[in-house]
Symmetry: C2
């Protein structure tokens, strides 16, 4: 194996795949990056058995890639990435010598790094014969960001640590819930095969970091055990979670005994300030009182003090209300909605309430109240 290319091209490829390198494992090869050299491209792959990222650098003027001899090697990611990053910004030459010792050189600098036989690197999941769907990268990014934070972090019900993805011929729906709050985002999308899978929230968080923020088309393929996302030259593989995702549709109230429409930022800042006083409590309890079109946000801690703030609803329908909730949940929900105006639908102090973008039911945040009696 022997090739030359511009430092920047190699450095970019290593940075993309590095997110899938195993951090701690007794299997050395999983802490490495597989470099495969073909006649017209090199392929870099990292795979921690949960997710894999693979990207390609083609031969050409832009990358400076010239292949002298095909082959493959696995190099320890911690050293390989930093070595390339610290090399002069010029042409890099790589060659595997005897016993997997790999030379990485540029100008008068010459590294030799112990490699591992590429045969030891695990096989990637196979997606041949499965139907694919196309989604714009920015849409996929928004679907992830608006739901992924609501997934469970505890492993009590493993399936809840994932995001449920459902496709039907007309819509794509992402749902995440940890049992105390739920985030749902549903977008119209034509010609989808009917599927329902659960992808680990951690995998989707990593995927969102490498998605471009534009309309680049992302190809998505789902098998019974794995998901694949193809973004230009980069392939992102993830294991799916096993188990049946709960039917969450019956949790979402259709009607409302109280509905308020509010300035999104003003509400977010008020809850953020109130949550500050409650931040050392597990439940970050914030109280909200709706009287006429006036909202009073309060929070109280015997040790710290208290805070009170009034806001005015842009519109209010239905009865007055007092309710308490976890301020962190509401902050994350309102941030995810990222809307100038939000609508909140309540059904009394003991029922979960819904926060949406005003006039836009595609995205929905459902939050359980804290049951309190003042």
């Amino acid at each position: 194996m022997e090739f030359s290319l511009q430092k920047q091209a190699l450095s970019n490829a290593l940075q993309i795949v590095s997110k899938a390198v195993a951090v701690r494992t007794p299997k050395q090869v999983l802490m490495g990056i597989l470099i495969e050299v073909h006649e017209d491209e090199i392929v870099a792959t990292a795979y921690d058995l949960e997710l894999a990222i693979q990207t390609r650098v083609p031969v050409g003027e832009e990358t400076g890639l010239r292949v002298h001899q095909t082959g493959a090697i696995v190099l320890p990611a911690r050293y390989f990435g930093d070595i390339v990053r610290k090399l002069p910004d010029t042409e890099i030459h790589m060659r595997v010598d005897a016993n997997y010792m790999t030379e990485i050189s540029a100008q008068s600098v010459e590294f030799h790094l112990h490699g591992i036989d590429a045969e030891e690197f695990p096989e990637l999941p196979n997606f041949m014969g499965y139907e694919s769907m196309q989604i714009p990268a920015s849409t996929l990014g928004r679907l992830i960001e608006s739901t992924v934070f609501a997934a469970a972090t505890s492993e009590v019900r493993p399936v809840l640590t994932g995001v449920s993805i459902t496709s039907d011929p007309t819509h794509l729906t992402f749902i995440a819930t940890d049992g105390l709050r739920l985030a749902q985002h549903r977008v119209p999308q034509a010609d989808l095969p009917e599927r329902q899978v659960v992808i680990p929230a951690k995998s989707l968080s990593e995927l969102s970091k490498i998605l471009p923020e534009d309309e680049t088309s992302v190809e998505m393929v789902l098998t019974p055990s794995h998901g694949l996302f193809v973004i230009g030259p980069t392939r992102f593989y993830t294991r799916l979670l096993e188990g049946t995702y709960p039917d969450t549709s019956r949790l979402i109230p259709r009607s409302a005994r109280t509905q308020v429409v509010l300035d999104g930022d003003a509400f977010l800042h008020a809850i953020d300030r109130a949550a500050l006083i409650a931040r050392d409590k597990d439940n970050h309890m914030v109280r909200l009182e709706v009287t006429g079109d006036t909202l009073t946000v309060t929070s109280h801690s015997p040790e710290v003090g208290n805070v009170s703030e009034t806001l005015h609803a842009l519109r209010k329908e239905g009865e007055d209300l007092q309710i308490a909730f976890n301020g962190r949940y509401v902050i994350e929900a309102v941030r995810a909605l990222d809307a100038a105006e939000i609508a909140i639908r309540f059904n009394g102090a003991n029922q979960a309430f819904v926060i949406e973008r005003s006039g836009d039911p595609s995205m929905l945040q459902l939050i359980s109240p804290i049951l309190w009696r003042s």
Copy 2:
């Protein structure tokens, strides 16, 4: 106590003093910020008994400060700072009610925070009657940055965790050493009183963060137990370290058996790359071979691999040499010098070597070699 002022003025003051707030201590009052309200200014103070920072906000249009009633209170820094930071960017009103409960309000937001009696706040050290000296802020900043990193981090010899500051009628000298390397910076400074003190390195690191990078004159006052630095409206107090600082002057070789002059950046990058291979070893061992005007930097790890890089000296005098050293020490020393050209003076493989700015003896870095036989 009651006053109003612009959020930004209060927020800035709290940020400056926050570095001296105690992090963990059973004495609640040390985790607080003292606010003293006088007729023409408010004074904010934090003091963890090692260092104190105090700053003033004067009455006036710029700060918006209007004093309604003088007085004083101590407020818990963790909450007070975040509350002010998260308030709307407008006028803030503060008032102490009964039982030290303090109202902090802006627009429709009203916080109440439990305060502590200002009488419980410790007295600051007294500097009355001691002579002061003046140093430009940028000079003081450079003196600190070029020496502080070389102080010991272990408490085996507590006096070495500080930086020795010596003033005589013509010069000001900062020295730090952990026993394996030494950093010294000496600047001409007129009309100084003769003094020698040791200031904790941690205090100087905090001081350097609040120094402006300009010629603002900083007033320095030293007592037998404390140091005071006055920067505009801000006063920075630090405890001094007890004990006799070692006489380091005899450690510094005057002559050289080998002297090389090098491009500073090229040398820094070469050592940085070599240290990469050695980074999991305690001593970060890098080897240097000087043959004629060629320098070869190498490093080797049985598990990882090796690296070799050649550089050419701009000038070389004296004999050829092989030496080994801690790469981290050399990287920190060369970064501190921040010079286009550096000069290194060696006296054989077993003697400490000196790195200086080429042609500028004011700053000096001395590094012990690692004794090895290849």
